[in-house]
């Protein structure tokens, strides 16, 4: 005769609550959420999990409980390596532990695990630290390292022929109004309060960098030959790129940049051709097309 067993869903719901409890498996077993599925006292764990000759039921379950947070914290530490260095391992692990409770993985891939970490840092920023301060540095670091991960996996320029930059030679203002530059999905922009791109590179080179002085920084992140590239640009170049990224025509983007960066307007016009050359070299744009205006 078949022995009566607990339903599979009941065991899984219970085990999930026990091994993901932030207070460890003892607290997990005692928790209301676990008891909703299998009602147990802590000393009754062997009613569900058999002990082995060398381990108690509690120690056996703890292998899974310990691994749950440790594994996910380790993955976050790999993705946010510079942030981990800046905070120190203990503080980083503490933040990561909180984050995993707040935003547990709902994806089949660990690449999604860190997606909300920059926002988590923004939402938990200490209010009593003046801005810009060290929390903003950490937020900037988290944001840039997350963008690195996303750009690495996004559609890039590697299998697309270069755009025709000759289209932009000798344009007048009216012609520029009809030019649309389409960026690759891998082109991203980030405005930060600190030069975190240099800091991340210094951490990677094991240079033990100190937290730098605050300095408004405009960073373009892109990909070439499957490697993520980053470049700090002037405020006006960043603004122009941002407008183009939003879908504005070249003419509209130039006008908007002149309004938003009046101090750099002349520089923009002086540098425009150099910028186009550099954007072409860096493969930031997929295509350049003329839009015919009707009427």
């Amino acid at each position: 005769m078949t022995r009566k067993t607990r339903p599979l869903s009941q065991i899984q719901q219970w085990m999930h609550q026990v091994i993901t409890h932030p207070g460890g498996i003892e607290n997990g077993i005692r928790s209301d959420r676990a008891n909703r599925h299998i009602r147990l006292r802590e000393d009754q764990l062997d009613h569900v999990i058999e002990p082995s000759q060398q381990m108690s039921s509690r120690d056996r379950m703890a292998v899974y409980g310990n691994a749950y947070f440790a594994r996910l914290v380790e993955c976050l530490g790999q993705e946010f390596s510079a942030l981990k260095y800046a905070l120190g391992e203990d503080a980083f692990n503490g933040f990561a532990f909180q984050y995993i409770q707040s935003c547990p993985s709902e994806s089949y891939t660990l690449n999604e695990l860190g997606r909300q970490l920059p926002e988590f840092f923004r939402q938990t920023r200490p209010e009593n630290v003046p801005s810009p301060g060290w929390p903003d540095f950490m937020i900037d670091l988290a944001a840039l390292q997350r963008i690195y991960a996303e750009v690495f996996d996004s559609d890039g320029p590697e299998n697309t022929p270069p755009a025709n930059w000759d289209e932009l030679k000798g344009l007048n203002a009216q012609q520029a109004a009809g030019i649309i530059l389409k960026p690759f999905a891998s082109l991203r922009m980030l405005e930060t309060s600190y030069p975190v791109h240099d800091y991340i590179s210094a951490v990677r080179r094991d240079e033990s960098p100190e937290i730098p002085a605050s300095r408004p920084t405009w960073i373009i992140i892109s990909r070439l030959d499957y490697v993520v590239r980053r470049r700090a640009v002037s405020r006006s170049e960043f603004t122009l790129l941002r407008e183009l990224h939003r879908g504005a025509s070249l003419g509209s983007a130039i006008k908007a940049t002149a309004v938003q960066c009046p101090d750099e307007e002349q520089d923009m016009f002086d540098e425009l051709e150099n910028w186009f050359f550099r954007w072409g070299q860096a493969r930031w744009f997929e295509s350049i097309r003329r839009v015919e205006k009707n009427g």
Binding site: L8, H16, D59, Y64, N111, F152, S201
Partner: protein
């Protein structure tokens, strides 16, 4: 004997494709029988991992090994995930698709661990039904692996060998026998690994896994961070006798050494069958006592994560 199982070939001795080895592979294109990928590391990549995989698939047979199918979960199957698996398999002409007899989460959450299932009739019926659904969707047989496990449920009413036999027969799927996992689980559950091996449906086994582990004294953790220990090699020899030999793959996922070291490790399997057992057993692979040489016990697999390459 190299009998084909479910029409799947014996691919020889393969190695897990890992991103730390990309530069070496792209430069050397070493003579390796086949590669196995962690499917989830490539499903959404539009960058270097996917490009490298395409290059590898043009030159070597590739098998897709997943860690998030969660075939034992009571959550609904994730058809978006399955669609991506199917598409990638077609793109790289994957020889087969495998995953684990486990669950990874419920209520839409993924703990990214290979959690054990209670081995009983209800679970069997549930998993068989889902394997059939997945196979129909993928339009190919699924190959399922015995995971390492650290607990046994009071609600289990059958042995792992019985469960794998019924599962593979009723769902008509293949089995991936992880020989290291047999050793690890049997140690953790006070069972005899030889007996488990003998109880398996050998004709259903299409692949072996080999890996290193960490012995913690009271239990063993499947860490994939070291050489294969002698006792696992001995079990492998037994497994090979029982099955007649099938595709064999070495997994090394933490503290990963240079590619040549990983490749040499799996090639020891060849020496085993050329009666050079002494050579195999004299090479690194002796059990590492707890705490000696390793900074910490390490994590049970699979911490599969690919970090971005940045200028």
């Amino acid at each position: 004997m190299t009998e084909r199982r479910l029409g799947l070939p014996n691919l020889g001795l393969g190695v897990g494709l890992r991103s730390v080895h990309y530069p070496y592979l792209l430069e050397q294109w070493p003579s390796v029988d086949w590669f196995e990928i962690i499917s989830e590391n490539y499903l959404d990549s539009r960058g270097r991992p996917r490009w490298v995989l395409q290059q590898v698939a043009e030159r070597y047979p590739v098998v897709m090994h997943g860690v998030s199918l969660s075939i034992g979960s009571t959550d609904p199957l994730n058809y978006d995930y399955l669609e991506k698996l199917k598409r990638l398999a077609a793109e790289i002409r994957a020889v087969w698709i495998s995953d684990h007899i486990c669950w990874t989460g419920v209520n839409g959450f993924n703990g990214h661990d290979l959690l054990p299932i209670p081995l009983n009739e209800e679970t069997l019926k549930h998993v068989v039904h889902r394997v059939i659904q997945v196979q129909e969707f993928l339009e190919r047989p699924l190959v399922l692996e015995n995971p390492s496990s650290y607990v046994t449920f009071r609600d289990s009413t059958m042995s792992e060998g019985e469960f794998m036999r019924y599962l593979s027969t009723e769902a008509d799927c293949g089995l991936l026998l992880d020989v290291n996992n047999v050793y690890v689980s049997c140690f953790n559950h006070d069972q005899d690994p030889q007996r488990l091996m003998e109880s398996l449906p050998h004709e259903r086994i299409v692949q072996f896994h080999l890996a290193g582990h960490t012995h913690c004294g009271t239990h063993i953790i499947d860490t994939h961070d070291d050489h294969v220990v002698d006792r696992v090699w001995e079990l492998y020899r037994k497994a090979r006798q029982l099955t007649g030999g099938v595709a064999t793959l070495l997994e090394w996922d933490a503290s990963i050494p240079p590619f040549e070291v990983v490749h040499q490790e799996v090639l020891k399997a060849q020496h085993y069958f050329e009666s050079d057992m002494e050579r195999v057993l004299k090479s690194p692979g002796t059990e590492v006592p707890s705490g000696s040489g390793k900074e910490r016990p390490g994590l049970p697999q699979p911490p599969v994560f690919v970090t971005a390459e940045v200028e």
